[in-house]
């Protein structure tokens, strides 16, 4: 997810933000968070300014807070406003929340990815709320001609403490709006022990609309005069249209037009294909049955999953293309070791499979385009649309619509540029909707990976030598998106002799971040192989990990002590080593550090005589800092992430044959279902560190914990995903 990190760095974190106060339309206080030098277009757009201010307090006391980031199910539309409301000191129930437009000039970076919203906003948004509170107190102090120091606030009122006089925020809002906004860095923040909103479970703010079936998602958007579109792309990635029977398609019921889009070679842009537009989506989708396309398939037609697996094994017999880590002397240490292990691991391509298929509504007119998109990364989409349609950023308005799942898929905006292009050509507003097969066969997949491990133990079972040859995808020494590995991959720096090498295979299919990118595959292979090492040493796999972590110390960004603590916590909570485990069942453990979060997880699983796997329970212990901002949302994210990982391990694989994806729907790409979902017990260990994000880091360790449990249950080691139950039969 490098791209997103870069975006965050460029537009927000290092540049000092400030607030601007102004009078809201109709009176009241409007507080707007801004970046120095940012483009501002306030004059003449008062209505829009009102909608997009961070905080608005009306004269009647109504408080509106704008949530600036895309909502994909991570609960951000609830959590970010909680931060402001807490320091503003208003009742949560009195707050109205608006979704922001995509407007980086006003809101800075707006994206949903990398579990970054908590670390990026924890302090800045509280400061916005505290600044507003300070201005309201100043306004009251001036009204009463008393020192500000004698004032306090309570539930949307300023109180003059000595005289117990009070004025509501609504009464003070217009006066506060005439004051200069304070320096954000100087405003005082609450002592966390006085929090009334943060740390209390606040249910999702949109949930009442969800349970009553109100239009809420991208697929629900309706624009007057809108046509519906499907876009048929080459089954082989990168293929283009040679010819198509457009006239026959145009003759189908409900079809208004069909045309060829040439497209370009960039995956995250406009692909080649055939657009069919008409008056209802079902009819344009059905018209595909008539469509016949001759494709120029291109070179990727020669690629397959089986071919990559064979190529990886061949590459593993050679020296790695490059070394990420080379500490000590692995060859010598392996030779000198009392016990040696070797194992080959792999994981497959998998798809994001958001339940809401990719879609976007766009309206191109007069050289401008208005877009309604379920997207995790709107401004990146704006740039692609601008480039492809020859527009400027200012020509493009993007409404961020609630996403029916993201998981990283909607960091890419291919559907956005398709909708914009088709609307331009159609001369009408268009809702583009992919069908499930389109969605599954045109993803930015979690890249497959192949790992060839060696380990050497001394007489005491201590790990003295470790090597991995990671065969992955990329070209010219550069990894394909999300196919890389860092030099800090554990156990680097924790074993005296260690070598992590990497080799690349060229790949013609798009890859990209999937929930806990990189980590979702690497955790499985590293934490499974370390389990093998622990068993080879004849030691308890949980204690072996604690011993391997060793001294409590900081190693780069990683704090070994925090990980030891969550391992100890999960040992305690799961009854590890104390629990009597029946025959056919087993418990497995794994830990993983990603997205600044420390997670240790234990799985209890059972394998029946015929090989049927039951995951009985998952225990999660985590350290994501000093404060769980919204406990109900936090637990939901962790349970969902752990179950998501179980689903990946049990059933998910995307197979490539002849450059195209074999799977097409949920009958062959298997998502976890109710009858497979075990109870997940979640524990948060509070530490003295700033809070960090929870969308992703609970996922990676559950895969190896499950596989390690299956080994404990059966003695069969899972070295390839998804788990093949026939191994137990």
């Amino acid at each position: 997810m490098t791209r997103v990190k870069d975006a965050a760095r460029a537009s927000g974190e290092s540049r000092r933000a400030f607030l601007r106060a102004s009078v809201a339309v109709g009176g009241g206080l409007l507080l707007d968070f801004s970046l120095p030098g940012a483009l501002r277009a306030r004059a003449g757009s008062a209505a829009a300014s009102t909608l997009n201010a961070f905080v608005q307090i009306s004269n009647d006391g109504a408080v509106t807070i704008v949530s600036k980031n895309p909502e994909i199910g991570q609960g951000i539309k609830t959590m970010l406003p909680m931060l402001i409301a807490e320091e503003l000191d208003v009742d949560w129930a009195s707050v109205r929340i608006e979704q922001a437009l995509s407007d980086p000039a006003r809101f800075g970076v707006q994206f949903a990815g990398g579990s970054r919203a908590t670390p990026l906003n924890w302090e800045p948004l509280r400061r916005v709320g505290a600044a507003a509170r300070q201005m309201l107190m100043t306004a009251a102090a001036q009204t009463w001609s008393v020192p500000v120091a004698e004032c306090d606030t309570e539930s949307g009122n300023v109180i003059h403490v000595p005289t117990k006089r009070s004025l509501s925020y609504g009464r003070l809002a217009s006066k506060a709006a005439t004051l200069a906004a304070p320096d954000l860095a100087q405003v005082a923040l609450k002592d966390p022990k006085n929090f009334k909103i943060i740390g209390k479970s606040q249910p999702g703010v949109d949930s009442p609309l969800v349970v009553t079936g109100k239009p809420l998602f991208g697929i629900d958007v309706t624009v007057p005069g809108m046509l519906y579109a499907v876009f048929v792309k080459s089954p082989v990635f990168g293929g283009t249209v040679a010819s198509a029977n457009l006239e026959a398609v145009k003759a189908q019921a409900g079809v208004r037009d069909a045309f060829i889009v040439s497209g370009g070679p960039v995956f995250n842009g406009l692909a080649g294909g055939v657009a069919i537009i008409g008056t209802n989506w079902w009819q344009v989708d059905k018209a595909r049955e008539t469509l016949q396309v001759v494709w120029e398939e291109g070179a990727t037609a020669a690629q397959s999953s089986a071919g990559f697996a064979k190529q990886a094994v061949e590459l593993a017999t050679q020296a790695p293309g490059s070394k990420l880590v080379a500490d000590g002397d692995v060859t010598q240490a392996l030779g000198a070791s009392a016990r040696r292990l070797e194992a080959a691991y792999s994981y497959p391509f998998i798809s994001h499979a958001t339940l809401e298929p990719q879609n976007c509504t766009a309206h191109f007119r007069d050289g401008k385009v208005e877009i309604w998109a379920p997207t995790q990364n709107p401004d990146a989409g704006r740039k692609i649309v601008a480039k492809t349609l020859g527009l400027t950023d200012a020509d493009i308005t993007i409404h961020m619509i609630r996403c029916g799942g993201g998981f990283g898929r909607r960091l890419m905006n291919d559907y956005m540029v398709e909708a914009a292009w088709i609307s331009k050509q159609a001369g009408a507003p268009v809702k583009l909707l992919w069908n499930r097969q389109d969605d599954m066969q045109h993803d930015f997949y979690r890249p497959a990976g192949f790992h060839f491990f060696k380990a050497g133990l001394d007489n005491a079972g201590k790990l003295q030598a470790f090597s991995d040859h990671f065969v992955t995808f990329g070209e010219n020494g550069k990894a394909a998106p999300s196919a890389d590995m860092g030099a800090s991959e554990f156990p680097a720096k924790f074993v005296p002799n260690i070598e992590l090498g990497i080799s690349f295979m060229p790949l013609g299919i798009p890859t990209g971040p999937l929930r806990a990118p990189g980590s979702n595959g690497l955790a499985f292979v590293f934490q499974s192989f370390i389990d093998e090492v622990a068993h080879a040493a004849g030691q308890d796999p949980l204690q072996y990990r604690i011993d391997l972590l060793g001294e409590r110390r900081q190693v780069g960004a990683f704090d070994a002590g925090r990980m030891i603590d969550v391992l100890a916590l999960v040992r305690d909570k799961s009854g590890w080593a104390r629990r009597k485990v029946p025959k056919g069942s087993g418990m497995g453990v794994a830990f993983y550090y990603s997205h600044l979060g420390y997670f240790a997880e234990v799985v209890h699983a059972t394998v029946a005589a015929g090989g049927k796997i039951t995951v009985d329970k998952v225990w999660v212990a985590s350290d994501v800092g000093s404060q769980i901002i919204n406990p109900t949302g936090a637990e939901n994210q962790v349970q969902g992430a752990a179950l998501d990982g179980i689903g990946e391990a049990l059933g998910q694989v995307i197979t490539l044959e002849n450059g195209r994806v074999v799977q097409s729907n949920f009958n062959d790409f298997l998502l976890l279902r109710m009858n497979q979902a075990p109870p997940v017990e979640v524990h948060f260990l509070k530490s003295e560190h700033p809070p960090t994000g929870l969308g992703e880091p609970a996922l990676p360790p559950v895969l190896p914990a499950l596989c390690n449990a299956l080994f404990a249950a059966t003695g069969v080691r899972i070295r390839s995903l998804p788990i093949n139950p026939q191994l137990f039969a």
Binding site: G75, V211, A353, G404, R436, G575, G633
Partner: protein
């Protein structure tokens, strides 16, 4: 063809191709967006509605096959006390993550409870496993069903406390 459908207690006249699935009649002809498209093949359950009280997958139900059946969608589930109690349990348990599947989950759950007011965990597994939740909010869906049924929300399968 002109069809006369009974949806959420109201008579709706709609001109549609006989093969057009009820899902798309609801969404795009009648502008009832609550019922969701997930797979188009009855694999995911996002499109679940009730036909005479029984859960059906509207994405594979041609409008011509609906006839005089009474159809209930998420927009009409609050028409019964049970439906309202399911919605309210969904909110108080705070089930929702992305929310996309939840209309279908609520329709399957309310159909289950109408037939079986005190379902066991095995009953819940059986009735709900046709509905995929990609965010995997299954723990809370299970709890919300039990809460709506007035049962303790503890998971009887969890013997490893």
């Amino acid at each position: 063809m002109l069809y006369t459908l009974l949806i959420n207690g109201k008579v709706c006249k709609v001109e549609a191709d006989p093969q057009m699935p009820l899902l798309w009649v609801l969404r795009d002809l009648l502008d009832m967006k609550g019922t969701k498209f997930g797979c188009g093949r009855s694999f995911c359950g996002a499109c679940t509605v009730h036909s005479n009280g029984a859960p059906i997958r509207s994405c594979v139900t041609p409008v011509s096959s609906v006839g005089s059946a009474s159809i209930t969608t998420i927009e009409g589930v609050a028409g019964t006390v049970l439906g309202r109690s399911v919605q309210s349990a969904w909110l108080s348990v705070d089930v929702v993550q992305c929310g996309y599947c939840q209309a279908g989950q609520i329709m399957s759950a309310s159909a289950l409870l109408a037939k079986n007011p005190k379902p066991s965990d095995a009953d819940i597994d059986k009735a709900m496993s046709g509905n995929i939740c990609r965010c995997a909010t299954y723990t809370r869906i299970r709890a919300a069903i039990k809460q709506a049924a007035g049962m303790p929300i503890a998971d009887s399968r969890d013997t490893l406390a």
